[in-house]
Amino acid sequence: MGAERSDNRVDLIIVAVLWVALTGAGLWWATVTNLHPIGASSNAVISDEAFDLLLYLSMPVTTFVVVVLGYSVLRFRVSLDETEDAAPVRSNRLFIAMWVLITVGLSVYVIFNPGFTGLDALAADKNAEMTIEVTASQWRWDYRYVEENIEFLDADGLVLPVDTRILFKITSQDVIHSFWVPAFRVKKDAVPGLITEVYMTTTKLGDFAQDDGFRNQCAELCGTGHTRMRTTVTVLTRVDFIAWVDAQRNAEVSG
């Protein structure tokens, strides 16, 4: 019994060391690796920060389970025809108490941060400088620029000015679609009979040719054309955007 005790202590120390080492390595990997694609909106910052925080928090949990699992398999394995039993440890108050406290603590913590803080940050600013009505249908996107009063039916692209707070008002004419621009971390379903709203601020210039995150892709299965239901997204400087709007107006007048 005494021997088992000291064995246990050695095991615990080795596991603790491995755990710390692996967690350190994991955190190092998480900080030096950029897992995120290009982020070009205010919402992208909130989303990516939430991901990173959760990644850091989950690292020690994951490594703990992996280390205990791996160590147990290597250290406590016996040959297949061995029939002797292990010591009948059915419970360990300290371990259970720690486990419950930590899982409760972590779960409750992530509810507030990044959960509630992120939601609050997304909903904080409801003053849009620009409103765009997005209408989805099988299988196309229509955009209407409300203030500029221009409309694109079956559009081949969505053009936006940079550093601008934009409100998307999204709806659908037939089935449920989903308005998604990966670079903006913006996704909202287009539901027939309902107008859903998304606020975001553009923060970076870019276009589809430069990075394919700049595209408006349907993210909710909507039938045969679902895969192809996408348009490009372009973010211009404000000056370029005004010029673009004028060009569109002229084209409309002459057309």
């Binding site: 389970v65 406590f76 039993d85 509810i111 940050a121 309902l194 993210a219 045969t224």
Partner: protein, 601 residues
């Protein structure tokens, strides 16, 4: 023979129902023939006709009308193709049927991965891709919902609690014989051109799309019926059929998992029935539940659907947890660690599963005020889930681990589920889920949970109980090859999916932006590798059943009741009724006993 009668009965039922509906339509002046309306009207007669033909009439219903029921005279392998009330026969019927469905759906996955190997179109049209994708998802969900419960719940649970059969053997047969109906409807949907709604079948798409969707709805409805009947049976069995002395705190953890799962099935499956009924009525009778223009609510479907389908995720994973903990204890030769906490975890998961469904709808346009409550409830469900992990880790720590094949798979469940569970925390975070929702991040997450957890658990159970069910041993070496091949293939297939999901690959598309081509090709190759691992399993499974070494009654030296009877057990399982005198995991204590099997006066 009885299957033939069943088919005849089903066809007669269909013709009868269709004729009735058509004549009613003719009488009211509508266009008489409408395939979908006729099929809807013929659904019930078809199912009833099949069931009556396949054996309900001969073996069960005749006494209601003052006749003698036919005795069960079928013997040998023919029993498995017959209406049979022996829970052991039904367990094997379930196992073989769902393994078949699993491999079929797996083939569909191979076809999908072929298409996704390169950007652009390879072998499938977008429409046929959607068809394969939908059938793959639906079949796999059905397998995950019913395979462990149907096969091992039926075969093992009665033996584990010392019963001679389930509480309602005939109902048990009924719930199995509904499964061929499910398969028939899925096949029918394929024959009429498939459906393109995915397994979630979101309205309004499912209302307006092709005819195949109707058959999908009817198939899901039928599976729901089967689940509910099964759940009633399991609950009653565990409540009423336990051997003397088998108290609740002496129940093996696998029995607990089936018991808790059955509560989930009993309560929540009614919601899928409701969702499917509404879609069927919307398709065939023009009902306006989901039609915004008429004042309906397109989001209603999602609410009702997920009110079943989120608890259904736990219906899929809880039995796998049960199998895993069971195996970990026996092969660590150590009592299950924190037994009561594990049971509490299962009950906690089940109780909380009713309050998390809308986390599937964070981007759906549901009212913003609901985001926070559902975010919170979803994050909190990781606490009871963590208790399962606690029990698993505590059990193997300082155990004496014998790495037989079932043990390897059980350890695989712990490892895979770790990633499935942790990424669930990410997805529950609403601000982040906005980006990750409906991307391959979700695909990776639920494959880690359902394939990495549920199906690894299924294979653990197959390897563990195969000797008991067939009286033969499976080949250990081939089993180990299968395990390592499968877990490596699995992780190489699905780990990169987290990354492509974050980087802009959404679900259910047959084509993607070129930039994701390299990773997708790697995923496809790993997927084919994963697919091939099952060839080894199949060979091992079939050959061992045919020619494997004879199994002793207790090849693993395990302590629960099913190992105290012969392999396979006799009719009625035990020669004497066991008397349970202690807990199920008596390792490390020579004086402890789980049960006494002695002839009594």
């Amino acid at each position: 023979m009885s299957i033939l009668k069943g088919i005849v009965g089903g066809i007669l039922g269909y013709l009868l129902g269709a004729a009735l509906v058509t004549s009613i339509r003719a009488a009211t002046g509508a266009e008489p023939w409408d395939f979908e309306v006729a099929t809807m009207g013929a659904y019930l007669p078809t199912v009833v006709g099949w069931l009556l033909g396949v054996g309900v009439w001969e073996y069960w219903a005749r006494p209601w009308f003052g006749r003698e029921a036919k005795p069960y005279t079928t013997v040998g392998w023919r029993r498995y193709f017959n209406f049979d009330t022996d829970h052991k026969v039904i367990g094997i019927q379930y196992l073989v049927s769902f393994l078949f469905l699993f491999f079929l759906a797996g083939l569909f996955a191979m076809v999908m991965r072929w298409e996704l190997m390169n950007p652009g179109r390879d072998i499938l049209t977008p429409s046929s891709y959607n068809g394969f994708m939908s059938l793959h998802g639906t079949m796999m969900v059905f397998v995950a919902v019913a395979a462990i419960v149907g096969a091992f719940g039926n075969y093992i649970v009665p033996i584990m609690i010392g019963a001679d059969d389930m509480a309602f053997p005939k109902l048990n047969a009924l719930s199995y014989w509904l499964v061929p109906v499910v398969v028939a409807f899925l096949t029918a949907s394929f024959l009429v051109g498939g459906y393109d709604t995915g397994w979630t079948g979101y309205a309004p798409l499912s209302v307006t799309t092709r005819t195949g969707a109707l058959f999908f709805n009817l198939a899901f409805l039928t599976l729901g019926l089967s689940s509910i009947v099964g759940a009633i049976n399991f609950l009653t069995t565990v409540h009423k059929m336990r051997a003397p002395g088998m108290t609740w705190s002496r129940l093996p953890i696998f029995v607990w998992s089936i018991y808790v799962t059955s509560w989930l099935s009993l309560i929540f499956t009614q919601f899928i029935a409701l969702a499917m009924l509404m879609v069927v009525f919307a398709r065939t009778l023009g009902m306006a539940f989901f039609e915004a223009a008429a004042g309906g609510d397109p989001l209603l479907y999602q609410n009702v659907f997920w009110f079943y389908s989120h608890p259904a995720v736990y219906i899929m994973i809880l039995p796998a947890f049960g199998v895993t903990l069971e195996i970990l204890s026996h092969f660590s030769r150590k009592p299950l660690f924190a037994y009561k906490w594990a049971v509490g975890g299962m009950i906690g998961i089940a109780a909380m599963s009713a309050f998390v469904w809308a986390h599937h709808m964070f981007t759906s346009g549901m009212p913003d005020v609901l985001l926070k409550p559902f975010l919170a409830s979803t994050e909190l469900i990781s606490i009871p889930t963590g208790l399962i992990m606690l029990s698993a880790l505590g059990t193997i720590w300082q155990g004496r681990l014998r790495l037989h094949v079932p043990m390897l798979f059980a350890l695989g469940v712990v490892f895979n589920f770790l990633f499935g569970g942790i990424t669930g925390v990410f997805l529950a975070d609403a601000p982040l889920d906005i980006q990750l929702h409906d991307t391959y991040f979700v695909v990776a997450h639920f494959h880690y949970v359902i394939l990495g957890g549920g199906i690894f658990g299924l294979f653990a159970a197959v390897y563990y109980w195969f000797p008991k069910m067939t009286g033969r041993m499976m080949n250990e070496t081939l089993g180990k090859v299968h395990f390592w091949w499968m877990i490596i293939g699995f992780n190489f297939t699905f780990m990169p999916m987290f990354w492509i999901g974050m980087n802009g690959m959404n679900r259910r598309i047959s084509d993607y932006v070129p930039n994701l081509g390299g990773t997708n090709r790697m995923i496809s190759l790993a997927g084919f590798f994963l697919g091939m691992s099952f060839v080894i399993f199949l060979w091992n499974y079939i050959y061992s059943w045919w020619r494997g070494a004879d199994a002793p009654s207790n090849p693993w030296g395990a302590t629960t009741l099913e190992w105290m009877t012969s392999s396979p057990p006799p009719l009625e399982n035990f020669d004497v009724i066991p008397e349970v005198v202690g807990g199920p995991y008596t390792y490390g204590d020579k004086s402890a006993k789980h049960a006494i099997l002695e002839p009594r006066l």
